[in-house]
């Protein structure tokens, strides 16, 4: 399995990560499974419901609410998932994965990510360090739910976005640290 996306898709994820920093951003990857490679055709940024504490708690309660917030948790409402999935199907596409940012933390999945994942899907994580989007990675949950395995990400087409944010702090690309 692997994930293939256009440079413009990656740029959109990076922009979203920078824009929502220091909160976590999140969104959906739409595409198709082509002979074991998930080919992304569109990226849909969605709202991190953790900004709305009451609604988020009603949907998926937190274990340690005094330490958890939109800065270290993201949540996408299942009604949004239904809406996006239905719209995707009408375009002949499917949800092939999700992305989210790790503000000031490595682009590696946490236990919390693993506990809330399903297999087959690609979980793309981007590190956003001090507001600057950095390295990304993609992960697939193992069948036994005990681990994530790293997945190859192929980025095709176009040059990396020179301008990754409308915010003045993010006018240049930073190398991965």
């Amino acid at each position: 399995m692997g994930l293939k996306l256009d440079q413009k898709h990656l740029d959109a994820i990076r922009r979203h990560g920078a824009k929502d920093y220091p909160a976590e951003c999140c969104g959906v990857l739409l595409g198709l499974d082509a002979e074991g490679v998930k080919r992304v055709r569109d990226v849909v940024p969605l709202k991190n419901l953790r900004h709305d504490r009451m609604r988020a708690e009603a949907l998926l309660p937190l274990g340690a609410p005094e330490r958890e917030s939109e800065r270290n948790r993201f949540l996408i409402d299942r009604a949004e998932i239904r809406r996006v999935e239905e719209a995707a199907r009408s375009r002949g596409l499917d949800i092939v994965g999700y992305y989210h940012s790790h503000p000031d933390h490595p682009a590696r999945p946490s236990d919390y990510d693993r506990e809330h994942a399903w297999p087959w899907l690609s979980y793309v994580i981007i590190r956003v360090q001090a507001g600057e989007p950095c390295e990304h990675s993609s992960w697939v949950l193992a069948d036994d739910r005990l681990s994530f395995r790293s997945e190859e990400v192929e980025v095709v087409g176009g040059e990396p976005g020179e301008k990754i944010s409308t915010d003045a702090r993010s006018q240049r690309r930073h190398p991965s640290r």
Binding site: L60, Y98, Y112, H116
Partner: protein
């Protein structure tokens, strides 16, 4: 006759690549139980080891979340459609943020 359970794309690999499975059941609990008895490998992705529905897994009956009906005791009638919809969640390891 029976109810149709729509299987989400990531879980179709556990039900012979079908996009829906028909189950005879009179409540949502019976339908999900029937589904996971028939397709055992599906079970751990819907339920915890303690047998509770995973917190991020939501069940819809037709267009209504069952938490606003009678939860898993919601009665079913023939031709009802059950959908399994995840709330997508994630974040950081809390031990990483305790500085």
């Amino acid at each position: 006759m029976g109810v149709k359970v729509i299987i989400p794309t990531p879980l179709r690999q556990y039900v012979g690549k079908q996009d829906a499975v028909t189950i005879n059941a009179s409540t949502v609990a019976e339908a999900l139980s029937g589904l996971t008895v028939q397709y055992e490998a599906l079970r751990k992705h819907l339920y915890t080891d303690e047998g509770k529905l995973r917190s991020f897994v939501n069940i819809y009956l037709n267009d209504e979340d069952i938490r606003y009906l009678q939860k898993d005791q919601t009665p079913l009638k023939d031709d009802d459609i059950i959908s399994i919809v995840p709330s997508i969640a994630g974040g950081l390891n809390l031990r990483c943020i305790c500085r």
